[in-house]
Subunit: 368 residues, 2 copies
Amino acid sequence: MSVSPIYNFSAGPAVLPEAVLRTAQQEMLDYNGTGFSVMEMSHRSDMFMGILHHAEQDLRSLLNIPANYQVLFLQGGATTQFNMAAMNLAHGFERADAVVTGNWSRLAYEQMPLLTDARIHLAAHGGEQFDYKDLPPVDNWDIDRNAAFVHFASNETVNGLQYADMPKLSDGMPPLVCDMSSEILSREINISDFGLIYAGAQKNIGPAGVTVVIIREDLLERCPKNIPAVFNYRTHIDKDGMYNTPATYPIYMSGLVFRWLQTQGGVKKIEALNELKAQTLYAAIDGSGGFYRNDIAPHARSKMNVVFQTASADLDKKFIQEAELRGLRLLKGYKSVGGMRASIYNAMPYAGVEALAEFMADFQRRYG
Amino acid sequence: MSVSPIYNFSAGPAVLPEAVLRTAQQEMLDYNGTGFSVMEMSHRSDMFMGILHHAEQDLRSLLNIPANYQVLFLQGGATTQFNMAAMNLAHGFERADAVVTGNWSRLAYEQMPLLTDARIHLAAHGGEQFDYKDLPPVDNWDIDRNAAFVHFASNETVNGLQYADMPKLSDGMPPLVCDMSSEILSREINISDFGLIYAGAQKNIGPAGVTVVIIREDLLERCPKNIPAVFNYRTHIDKDGMYNTPATYPIYMSGLVFRWLQTQGGVKKIEALNELKAQTLYAAIDGSGGFYRNDIAPHARSKMNVVFQTASADLDKKFIQEAELRGLRLLKGYKSVGGMRASIYNAMPYAGVEALAEFMADFQRRYG
C-alpha cells in the first residue's frame, strides 16, 4: 500500500467522509448497544425506525425542507424516478415538459413517455444549439402552463454542466421536477421552488441503493390508484416509508453523512468550500495556456464534475495512468465524452483538489 | 449489555453470519488493499466488477445454476418483481396464472395486473379453502397451458407455510415464476424447473436493497421494447448488470454470505441443519400438550418461519416481552397474524433455536 493519501475522483459511487466510514466500522456488529448490526434490524423495528426518522429530520434541517414537503428514501436510483415522476404526476395531463442539457436529462426525456399517456414535450435543448457546452436559460424554456411538470437536471454529471443560478418558474407555472443526484446538499437551494426533487444517493448523500425523493404534498393528489403500489409515491408516504423493505443500510449510511455535514457547518459552509475547490481546478485548467481544456461556457461549468482534456486522447490516457500511480484515482471521463473528469463532491477534501492541481502542473512541465 | 448471546429471530432484514459482519468491518475502509471502501467504488470500476462477478459465480455454484440462466442483482425488492415479471413475461399473452397461498403471493396476485394487458387468473387459492393453513397441491392448480407463466411463493414468510416438495410442472406447461425470497439457498432445488426465480436478499442472502433474479435465457425474448429500460430484464442483461448504478454494498455483502455458505459446506449441508432447527422448534410446540399451537398442516409447515401461539394474546405478549429480556429478539408475529414467529434462516445458529426451545419450556413451566 502507498503511504501517500489516495483521492477518489469517481463520479459515483463516490468518496465518503472517512469519519463516516470509521463510525460505520465501529458500529458494524453492535449499533448503539443494541447488539444488532444495522443490517440485521427489522425495518419496522423501533431501532431502525429511529435511524430512518433521524436521517429524515437531519436532511430536513440541512435543506430547510418546509413542512408541506414529504421525504422518501426509495430504491431503484434516479433512473427509476424518470418513470415514477411521469406515472405519478402526469396522469390526466396532455403534456409534460422536459429540458435536455446532457446525458442524464436526455435519458429522462427518452424514458419518461413509456408509462404515461402524456406527451413529453422537448422544452429546451442544450444539444443541437450548444452541443452540451452551454445551458439554455430558464427564460428561453418553451413551457406550457398546462403541462404536468417541467423536468430538468440541475447538474449534468457526465457533461460537466451546472445551472449556476438554480432555475425557478413564476407562480402559475407547472411544478419543477429536478434530478439533483449529483449536486444535492452541495449548495443552498430553495425547496419551495420545486414540486419534486429526486437524487440517487451515491454522489453527495451516501452509498448506492437509496434515492431521496422530496415532494410537495399537494402533488400527491395526482398519484393515480391504478399504478402498482410500489411505484406510487402516495403508497410510500401513507406507509411511512415502510410499504416494502427499504434499503436499510444505505439509509443508515446516508444518515451518518447528514450528521457529518452538520459537523462541517451545514450546507452553507460546504458550499463555500465547494466554490473554492471548483475555482482551484478551473484556474489550473485556464492557467495552463491551453495545455488543458474545458469547453463548457464559463457560467455553466459544474462545481461538482470538472471535465477537462489535453490535446490528444493518448496524452489523456497517460495523464490518467500517471495520476492513478500518484493516488489520484478514477479520473477517466465518461465513455461517451472521453478525457478526464474530476468529481469533487462534498466528501472530497480540499487537499485532494490541491494534489490534483499540483499533479496537473507537474504533468504539463513534463509533457507540455 | 447482556453477557448472554443475543439471537435475532427477525423475519427480515434478518440475522447475518457474525463472520461475515467481521469481514465487512475489517474491510470497511480498505477493501483488499485498494485503499477504497466498497461503498466508494465506481460500479463500473474493475474493483467492483470483480466483486459482482465473484458473487454471481459463487451463487451459480451454490445453486447449480445452468448456463442457460442469467443472474441479476436488481433493486426494489421482491415487490418490484411482481410487476417486472408481469411486464416482461406476459406481453402478448391473454392470461397469466397465479397461486395464492398467503400474504405475499396474494399481494403479487393483486399487483401483477396493473402494468400488463394479460388477465391474471387465480389458479389456486390456499385462503378460502384452507385459510392459509395448508397449501394447494400442484396437481390441483388450474393452469392454462397457454398462460404466460404460473406465479407462486414457495415459502410464505408471514403465514409460515412452505411447499415441502418444490412444485414442478410437466413439459409443455408455462414457465414457473417463483418468489423464493424467504427460502432461497436454504435447500437444494432444481433451477431448471423454473422460468424465473426472484428473491429479496434480506432473509437468506444479505442486507436489504438487492434482489436476486435468475431467469431462463429464452424468456428474455418476451421482454417488450416499449417498457422503461430500468424495468426491462433484457436491458440489465445486455448491460452486464450496469444499466444503472446497482446497490453495490448490499451486493458485496451478499457475496460475503455466499462465501460463508461455501465454508459451511454449501446448500446440502445447510439444508440438513435447517431441517434439524425446524424439527427442534416444531417438537417443542407439538410436545407442549397444547400450550403452544401451530395450526399449519404438518406437511406444509415452513422450515424458515415457525409461527406459534399460546392460548391468549395477553400470554403471547408476555412471552415476547420475557423472551426479549433473555436475548431472544424480534419474535413478534406479523401484525395481521399475531402470535409469535421464529424466523430461522441459514444464519441462525442451532444454539439460537436450542435457546428458544429451552425458554419455551421454561415459560410453560411458569405459566402453563
